[in-house]
């Protein structure tokens, strides 16, 4: 299958465009975050009890009008408007990003995630797309289940979700960048579609989960100034948990299909190759996270720390193991 260099260069162009758009969206979100000041008095109700073993109970977040507009005017506050345009821009960016992936796939005639540049791009795409799904579902949540104030606006986390995306994509486009090439023999297998797609999907979702847990820890860490601007910590905890629950079976699937592929490619389904080992370690950490959520005394910050550690392990596996440790996965190349 020959490479189509024209499509490949359009793909690169779309990648750069998406990165710039993400950057703009992040700046807008930062503006929203700065404008969306919440009176500190309201913060008391935002930090919930945790670790008690029972369902946390608290008064619904005090109804705080965004941006301090208190006259009940129907017009949207400034923060609200900035936030909405940030989301719109993110949506546009994700479309451009999708076209970058599609063009690269068309240029090389296979799934475009076989080296670190391509893989990082796919992970970021899944993370942002997943993030937009979260926002969409929050907006469309049934009225009855929301507190009168409406669910705490997760949207305000946009800046924190986009920050790692921008950093990863910047690294991907510079340090990790690789020209479009056909696959080496070791990767020519339909398993690449199955195994790596699953790995990228799970990693992208876990990125969102990790961000939620980091913010949860910031919010419960004692600084009311930070906490006051974040959504209720229960929302963050719930977001982290539900994304992790979604991602863990996908991650399990990625490891199992990796093992099936390894049986066909390397002569054994499991051989403690560094990437395999680290994938298992990350899996164990996430299993620990879910167990911790079900163990009295481990819920709350402790569980959140485990989740953050799990994502640290994923990043470690992606970057350190690929670049520094020599293993069978190393051909994936930079």
């Amino acid at each position: 299958m020959p490479i189509n260099p024209v499509l490949a260069s359009y793909s690169d162009l779309a990648y750069g465009t998406a990165l710039v758009l993400y950057l703009f969206a992040m700046v807008l979100h930062a503006g929203e975050y700065a404008a969306g000041r919440v009176p500190v008095t309201a913060a008391g109700g935002r930090i919930t009890a945790q670790g008690t073993g029972s369902v946390a109970t608290l008064p619904p977040p005090t109804n705080v009008t965004e941006g301090g507009v208190t006259d009940g005017a129907p017009s949207r506050s400034k923060a609200e408007r900035i936030g909405r345009s940030a989301v719109a821009l993110t949506g546009l960016a994700v479309l451009v990003h999708a076209s970058s992936l599609a063009l690269r796939g068309a240029a090389i005639g296979r799934v475009p995630w076989a080296n670190m540049y391509e893989f990082t791009s796919a992970v970021c795409f899944v993370a942002v797309a997943g993030w937009l799904v979260v926002l969409y579902r929050q907006r469309n949540a049934p009225e009855g289940s929301a507190s009168p104030a409406g669910p705490a606006p997760l949207r305000r986390l946009g800046v924190f979700v986009l920050l790692p995306i921008v950093v990863l994509m910047f690294l991907g486009g510079t340090v990790l960048y690789a020209q479009a090439t056909p696959l080496i023999p070791a990767l020519s297998s339909y398993w690449i579609t199955i195994h790596v797609s699953a790995a990228a999907t799970a990693t992208g979702i876990l990125l969102v989960s990790g961000v939620a847990s980091v913010l949860y820890l910031l919010g419960t860490g004692g600084s009311t100034r930070i906490a006051a601007r974040l959504p209720a910590s229960t929302s963050l905890d719930r977001l982290a948990y539900r994304t992790a629950v979604l991602a863990l079976p996908i991650w399990t699937f990625a490891i199992i299909t990796g093992a099936i592929w390894a049986e066909a490619a390397w002569g054994r389904y499991w051989g403690w190759d560094p990437k395999e080992t680290c994938a298992l370690v990350a899996w164990v950490v996430y299993a620990g996270y879910l167990h911790a959520r079900a163990t009295a005394g481990w819920r709350g910050p402790r569980a959140a720390w485990i989740n953050v550690g799990g994502f640290g392990m994923m990043l470690f596996n992606l970057f350190f193991v690929n670049i520094v440790v020599a293993g069978l996965h190393s051909y994936a190349g930079i």
Binding site: V134, R137, S145, L183, I184, A186, S188, A232, L239
Partner: protein, 538 residues
């Protein structure tokens, strides 16, 4: 202390240990220990993966390495402490799963628990007046709760209640997950015990390999229960190896054209053709053969002064995987020499570099491309005692440097040769570089338990999916007659596990059962999820 006392003390201690070991918290800690213990196995070089890199590491860290070695850090997955962690986890898992399975079986036969007195204390609650009669409401409720396990009860004051519970599959999934995890561990261990792995290099010029025993291999790693006498008998003949490269030198495809004889063909002598490729092993029964590497074996012909000829084709090992520049040694014994002492002054070694596509940087040979476009060798010829009768094991890729240092093996010539070119040694021996043969390196693996491992892995995934997707939840309905034709209907709900998402389902059921226009008294009548401000997210 009496003997009976100490006995009870011992049993108490044992019971406490068992309880501690099987608690969730211990399992958590063990999980983390497992993760932590596996890490050095990923970060430090391991004997089992690459002994060469272990030795390099040891040379670089002369003080630290012996300590790490003593602690088993270069063999983590075979070390006693790693085994201890997973055995403890294993025991903890068994201790956790067995009682839970029993409890689950018991629960399956139990009816849903009676309706609590105060439904408004539950996390989910709704209440409304209905015009319908009790029986009607109950019928509607039963219809709404199809798929739930239901128990109906009557209360002394005339109220009727309905307890419903759903999501039993969660525990089933969870148990399947944990049991399958045990199965996976056992399958892995069995595979390690009765399986084997062997590697062998075969010239791609019609040479044969037969799986007759460990000695047929260049390296053989048997499981503890393998003595090598019962390997599946089969033979392969490697006809040809064909790599395809892009102009950049990147490989596109490796293909070995082989023929093989399975166990039933050996007597009849039938050969079956097969294309062995990366990602496409040859499977003969439960034994698999893989193409894992390739390289070049230069061919030399030596014409000794007495006119006798000897040819040698030995694989040289690639030193650069991108260009397949290779190094190696081809050794010769002088023919027809019966005097061992004399023979040891006349042995010959051709050692040096081989490049499939030669470029010379100054006089230094290197390779520009991995394929055979313009091969050349840069060789040094040594004559004397190769030291291979000294009893020490010899590398096939190099000469014994100590023989050179002691002067018993001397360099007599060095030259760059293209195929067909030759050089003459001082004693009139002629060394000709004839050409080159490709070789493939093959791996044979046998693991009869791997299908079990796959089966359990699928169960692990299925069980995990079930236990994460299904929610165990309870719902109660109390119907109290009020007035001549009406009733008061009260609903309460409780998620027994992670509560996420139950609010929506509860609200849907409540909306189905309670008339909208009388949706309760005021705001709080229908708001069920006040404790979960984020409900509905996702």
């Amino acid at each position: 202390m009496t003997r009976a006392h100490s006995l009870t003390a011992v049993t108490a201690a044992l019971r406490n240990t068992w309880r501690g070991l099987t608690s969730m918290r211990t399992a958590l800690v063990l999980l983390f220990l497992l993760a932590l213990g596996a890490l050095p196995g990923a970060l430090l070089p391991q004997y089992s993966l690459n002994p060469q890199r272990v030795r390099t590491y040891q040379a670089q860290h002369p003080t630290l390495a012996p300590i790490l070695d003593r602690l088993g850090f270069f063999e983590v997955f075979a070390s006693p402490w790693f085994a201890a962690i997973y055995l403890l986890l294993f025991v903890s898992l068994v201790g956790c799963v067995v009682p839970r399975s029993v409890e689950y079986a018991r629960q399956l036969r139990r009816t849903p628990v009676a309706t609590p007195r105060n439904l408004d204390r539950l996390p989910h609650h709704a209440r409304a007046r209905c015009d319908a009669a009790t029986e009607q409401v109950l019928t509607a409720t039963r219809r709404a709760l199809r798929g739930w396990r239901i128990a109906e009860r009557a209360e002394p004051d005339g109220a009727r209640t309905l307890s419903a519970e759903r999501g039993y599959l969660r525990e089933a999934g969870n148990l399947v997950f944990h049991i399958a995890l045990l199965g996976l561990l056992v399958s892995f261990a069995i595979g390690k015990l009765v399986g084997y792995e062997g590697q062998v290099i075969v010239l791609a010029n019609g040479s044969q390999f037969c799986n007759s025993g460990p000695l047929a291999y260049d390296s053989f790693r048997p499981g503890q229960d393998v003595d090598g006498t019962a390997l599946t008998p089969f033979c392969v003949r490697v006809e040809k190896f064909t790599p395809t490269y892009l102009s950049t030198g990147q490989a596109k495809q490796f293909r070995a054209t082989i023929a093989y004889q399975g166990p039933n063909d050996l007597s009849s002598g039938t050969w079956h053709p097969y294309q062995l490729e990366v990602n496409n092993p040859l499977r003969i029964g439960g034994t698999r053969m893989y193409l894992i590497g390739h390289g070049y074996a230069p061919r030399f012909t030596v014409t000794f002064p007495d006119g006798q000829q000897r040819s040698g084709v030995v694989q040289w090992r690639p030193v650069d995987n991108a260009t397949l520049l290779s190094e190696g040694t081809t050794k010769f014994d002088p023919p027809g020499m019966t005097d061992a002492a004399l023979r040891r002054t006349r042995q010959l070694a051709i050692t040096g570099l081989f490049a499939p596509t030669a470029v010379f940087r100054g006089s230094l040979l290197s390779s520009a491309f991995p394929d055979l476009l313009d091969p050349a060798v840069a060789i040094e010829v040594f004559q004397g005692d190769l030291g291979n009768s000294s009893g020490r094991s010899q590398s096939i890729f190099s000469i014994d440097q100590s023989m050179v240092d002691s002067g018993r093996l001397k360099e007599v010539a060095r030259q760059d040769l293209r195929p067909g070119e030759q050089l003459t040694l001082p004693d009139r021996t002629v060394v000709r570089f004839d050409g080159v043969t490709r070789f493939v390196s093959l791996q044979v693996s046998y693991d009869p338990a791997q299908h079990w491992a796959l089966g359990f892995a699928v169960l692990v995934l299925g069980g995990l999916g079930l236990s994460l997707a299904v929610k165990r939840r309870r719902l109660w309905v109390r119907v109290t007659p009020a007035g001549p034709a009406g009733t008061v209907v009260e609903l309460g709900g409780l998620a027994r596990t992670e509560a996420a998402g139950y609010g929506e389902e509860f609200d849907r059921i409540a909306a189905e059962l309670l008339p909208p226009e009388q949706a309760g008294e005021g705001e709080e009548g229908r708001v069920s999820d006040a404790d979960q401000p984020g409900a509905g997210v996702l």
